[in-house]
C-alpha cells in the first residue's frame, strides 16, 4: 500500500515535471548548424548534468506528501499556494518557472488527500504558466489527457509517469532550456521543504505530549534532515545557470544561508543521545522553518 501511495504521490509531481521538460525541450531544439563555442557547450553540458543529478539521483522532496499519511495530519489548505496569484508570476520568467515548480509540488500534496478536482485546477494553471514562459506550443496533449483521465488510478498513472520520464530524459539530452528546468526544480524543492516544515510546525500541539508528537512526526523530521545533500545539489544547479541575474543570485544566497543552518540540524544525534523529545523544540528546526517560509513567501508573493 505504501509503495502504491508513494508512486501515486510522487507521480503527480513527476508527471508535471516531466511534462514541463517535454514541453520545454520540444519547443527549443538545437538549431542546426549552430556554431556554439566549446566553452558554451561544456557549460551547457555541465548544467544538463546538474539537472539530471537533481532530477534523478536524489530523493525529491515531493516524496513528502505520502509521509503525511503516516502523521495523520489533516489537510491544510493554507499550505498550498493559491492559484489565483498565478497571473502575477508571469511578469518575470524566473518567477513563473519557479512557481511552476511550486504548483507541481502542490499537486502532489493535493493528490495525497484525494483532492482530484483541485489537482486538475492546479494542472490547468501550470499549463497557463507554461504559456507565459513560451513553451506552450509543444505541450504533449495526449499525455496530459491521459494524466487527467488516470488521476484516480495509481497503477495507470505510474505507467504514464515512467513513460514521461523516459521521454523527458531523451529530450534533456537535446535541449537548450536547462535554465528553465533548473528554476522549475528549484520551485519544487523549495515547496517540498515548505510543505514538510509546515506539517511539522503546524501539527496540533495541544492534543498529544511532545514525545508522542515526536514519534508521529519523526519520519517527516528525518526526511527534512535528509534534504541537506539535495540542498547542496540544488545550490550547485542554480550556480550552473548562465545569465543568472539578481533573482537567481539572491535565491542562491538564501539557499546557502539555509544550508549553513542545516549544518547544525542533526535530529538523529539528539535521538541517539536520548534527547529525542527536544527535537520539536529545537531552535535550529525553528530557524530552518522560518528561513524556508521566508524564501517561499518571496517566491510565491
Amino acid at each position: 500500500m505504501i509503495a502504491l501511495l508513494e508512486k501515486y504521490f510522487r507521480g503527480s509531481f513527476l508527471i508535471i515535471l516531466s511534462l514541463i521538460f517535454t514541453i520545454s525541450c520540444t519547443s527549443d531544439k538545437k538549431k542546426e548548424g549552430s556554431a556554439s563555442s566549446e566553452y558554451e557547450e561544456a557549460s551547457e553540458q555541465s548544467l544538463r548534468e546538474q539537472v539530471e543529478k537533481v532530477l534523478y539521483e536524489i530523493p525529491p522532496p515531493s516524496e513528502i506528501p505520502y509521509i503525511i499519511q503516516g502523521t495523520g495530519a489533516d489537510f491544510n489548505p493554507n499550505i498550498v499556494n493559491t492559484i489565483d496569484k498565478y497571473e502575477s508570476y508571469t511578469i518575470s520568467q524566473h518567477k513563473a518557472a519557479f512557481n511552476l515548480g511550486v504548483y507541481a509540488t502542490d499537486i502532489g500534496y493535493l493528490s495525497s488527500y484525494g483532492k482530484t478536482q483541485e489537482a486538475l485546477n492546479y494542472m490547468d494553471v501550470c499549463m497557463k504558466i507554461s504559456e507565459s514562459i513560451g513553451i506552450q506550443d509543444a505541450i504533449d496533449l495526449e499525455v496530459l489527457s491521459r494524466f487527467e483521465k488516470n488521476l484516480g488510478d495509481p497503477d495507470s498513472l505510474a505507467n504514464i509517469i515512467d513513460e514521461s520520464i523516459e521521454k523527458s530524459d531523451t529530450y534533456l539530452q537535446q535541449n537548450e532550456r536547462n535554465n528553465i528546468a533548473a528554476l522549475i526544480i528549484g520551485g519544487t524543492f523549495v515547496e517540498g521543504l515548505y510543505v514538510s516544515s509546515q506539517i511539522i510546525d503546524t501539527y496540533p500541539k495541544d492534543m498529544l505530549a511532545d514525545d508522542q508528537r515526536m514519534t508521529i512526526l519523526s519520519p517527516m523530521i528525518r526526511l527534512l534532515a535528509k534534504q541537506k545533500e539535495p540542498l547542496e545539489d540544488m545550490i550547485s544547479l542554480l550556480k550552473s545557470v548562465e545569465d543568472k541575474g539578481d533573482w537567481i543570485e539572491a535565491t542562491i544566497n538564501s539557499l546557502e544561508e539555509l544550508h549553513e543552518n542545516y549544518e547544525a540540524f542533526d535530529p538523529e544525534a539528539k535521538i541517539k543521545e536520548g534527547k529525542g523529545n527536544e527535537v520539536l523544540n529545537d531552535e535550529v528546526l525553528h530557524r530552518l522553518t522560518k528561513q524556508i517560509a521566508s524564501i517561499r513567501e518571496n517566491v510565491v508573493y
Binding site: 489565483d84 497571473e87 511578469i91 533573482w247 538564501s254 528561513q291 517560509a293 521566508s294 518571496n298 508573493y301
Partner: protein, 173 residues
C-alpha cells in the same frame, strides 16, 4: 515605473492580504529600530552579509552621512526573503537604520504591497510625499534624490519621479 494592467491586477490581488507596514521612526513589521542582531536574524530568517563600517561601500554610507546616523556595522541583504530589506545598520548591537528597497527584481512585487503607516507607497511621487506628510521634506542629491524628515524618522529616494527606497531611522526631534 508605469503600472501596467497586469501590475494593477497584482496590486488588487495583493491588497487582500495582510501587508507589512512601514512605521517611520520605528520599523517595519517585527523588524524594529533598537532590535538586536539576533532579533533581526530571527525576524528575517537571514543574516545576509555583515560588513563593518570600514568595509562598507560608499553607496551604503550616503544616507548614514546625510542623516548623521553613526553605526558600527551593517547586515547587507541580497537574499530572497519575506521582507524587501536591503540593509540594516547597527550601533552598539542595536538597529539604528533600516533600508527597504524596491530595486532588486526579487523585491519589486513585495514592495507593491507595502505602505507607510500614513499611506505613502512605493512608486508614489514627490507630490504624494508632501501630501501624506503635510510639509516640505529636507532634500539631498547624490546619485539619487533623497527626501527626508528627521523628526519623523523616514527618508525616501526618488528616481524618475518615483519612490524606490524607504529608510527608517529613529526620529531626531
Amino acid at each position: 515605473m508605469k503600472l501596467q494592467p497586469l501590475f494593477a491586477f497584482c496590486l488588487l490581488a495583493i491588497s487582500s492580504f495582510a501587508q507589512p507596514v512601514i512605521e517611520p521612526g520605528k520599523g517595519i513589521s517585527d523588524l524594529k529600530i533598537g532590535s538586536s542582531p539576533d532579533e533581526v536574524i530571527w525576524t528575517l530568517g537571514f543574516k545576509g552579509i555583515k560588513l563593518t563600517k570600514e568595509g562598507v561601500p560608499e553607496v551604503l554610507n550616503i544616507q548614514a552621512k546625510m542623516l548623521a546616523i553613526d553605526y558600527d556595522y551593517v547586515f547587507n541583504y541580497q537574499n530572497i526573503m519575506a521582507l524587501p530589506i536591503s540593509t540594516v545598520y547597527f550601533k552598539d548591537n542595536k538597529v539604528v537604520m533600516i533600508v527597504v528597497s524596491s530595486y532588486p527584481e526579487y523585491n519589486e512585487v513585495l514592495c507593491l504591497g507595502i505602505n507607510t503607516r500614513e499611506g505613502l507607497a512605493f512608486w508614489d511621487d514627490e507630490q504624494a510625499l508632501k501630501k501624506v506628510y503635510g510639509k516640505k521634506p529636507e532634500t539631498y542629491t547624490r546619485d539619487f534624490d533623497f527626501y527626508y524628515y528627521l523628526e519623523l524618522g523616514i527618508s525616501v529616494s526618488i528616481e524618475d519621479k518615483e519612490i524606490r527606497t524607504m529608510t527608517i531611522f529613529k526620529s531626531q526631534s
